[in-house]
Amino acid sequence: MDNINKDKYFVEKIETMSNQKIADCYQCGRCTAGCPFAEFMDEPPNRIIRFIQLGMKEDVMKTQGPWFCAACLVCQSRCPRGVDIPRLMEAVRTIHLRAKEQILDVDKIDKELLLDAHPLVLMSALYKYSY
């Protein structure tokens, strides 16, 4: 319980960046049920939202979950409370990236992929994964 509401500005920051009200989520779990990539996340989308609701900054910033969000918006279109979950994921990613924490090292991108992939693929990945 030590992690709860340690940083009172954290929730506010996420809400401003995502333009969402975090209390709107009533934890039905439909986002996680439909997420094509939930199985790859260490914490699934609804748990990450719960962390944010409780102001558990350390847990939110520790999970790798948001990096697996492809912003496909399936959860957004199914959420019964109209929460735009990918915006919350993007907010978490953006906080990381603005603190200069990136998960993509351009020099380490697979060489075959670099030659083969559409510029769209690489550009999108660079936007989402690096600063």
């Binding site: 990539f37 279109s77 991108i109 992939a117 559409h118 769209l120 936007y127």
Partner: protein
């Protein structure tokens, strides 16, 4: 008829076949796609952080340019279509952002430009398309794959139903072929996750291809260069992971359109496909 046309970067590099086939197809419909002057990249995936206006600069410039041309702009790439439409939605809803960007860029965009996808254009010009069809695509079963960008978020895209869309099926039926809708036609292909988490993209693409095959599809059509890349290129790696996997050719919708309009093969651009559609085309006497 002359219509402003925004190709986007990918259509000049890796998605060239989409560009050549759509231009040739529309020409056969007596529609000239007039490429916008001095267009540039739309910024690819739309930024979801609302405290960042940088990502709206490129869309505003593009739309301001488009407005100076006559009529709605045609955008065939799903990602550009999504980015421009979502940005336009913000300009319509958020007068302050529009004002700041207009002042900053010395533009005078009034947020009224309409962005049209070829699927919408062809749906609205059914009779024209029907009158120009030359090849019989009967008995060809085409999986209709939408992906994410055309459909979601529905409030901003206003394209079709986000869970059970039918616009691509209608397009395929118009060509005389048999559309195959399948449950995962609206699911994500893995998108840019291929760069950093290839397993996630391989699994997602496998699920989609398997589902389409299970519903009877022999080939798949899409309008998204990113989906085309994942679904086509990753089949080699899927087959490595799942030995019983049967590969399937992936087409841009415009390539099938070009075939139906009997446009010469040099405009199809099928030689870029990793999974060769040669056998499929031969089987159906389309070469």
């Amino acid at each position: 008829m002359k219509i402003p046309y925004y190709p986007g970067c990918d259509l000049y590099t890796k998605a060239k076949p989409l560009n050549t086939s759509i231009q040739a197809s529309f020409k056969a419909l007596d529609v000239e796609l007039k490429e916008m002057a001095n267009w540039y990249c739309c910024g690819t995936t739309f930024t979801l952080a609302r405290d960042n206006r940088m990502s709206l600069i490129a869309p505003l410039r593009i739309l301001a340019k488009a407005q100076k041309e006559n009529g709605s702009v045609i955008v065939p790439c799903s990602i550009c279509y999504n980015t421009l439409k979502r940005a336009n939605f913000i300009f319509q809803e958020d007068a302050e952002t529009l004002k700041i960007l207009n002042e900053h860029l010395s533009e005078n965009y009034d947020c009224r430009e309409k962005i049209v996808h070829p699927f919408e254009f062809l749906r609205d010009n059914k009779e024209l398309l029907k009158s120009r069809l030359k090849k019989n695509l009967k008995d060809i079963k085409l999986g209709c794959y939408y992906g994410c960008y055309l459909l979601r978020p529905q409030k901003e895209m206003q394209f079709d139903d986000p869970e059970s869309p039918t616009i691509i099926e209608e397009f395929v039926s118009l060509l005389g072929a048999t559309p195959v809708g399948f449950p995962l036609k609206v699911e994500c292909c893995g998108s840019f996750l291929i760069v950093n988490s290839p397993d996630a993209a391989i699994d997602a693409s496998y699920r989609i291809l398997k589902n389409a095959r299970g519903e009877g599809a022999e080939a798949m059509i899409t309008s998204c260069p990113l989906c085309h890349y994942n679904l086509d290129t990753l089949q080699k790696r899927i087959a490595f992971k799942h030995p019983n996997f049967k590969s399937m050719p992936i087409f841009y919708f415009s390539q099938i359109l070009a075939i139906a309009l009997d446009i010469p093969p040099e405009y199809w651009g099928l030689e870029q496909n990793k999974i060769s559609p040669a056998d499929f085309l031969k089987e159906h006497n389309l070469t």
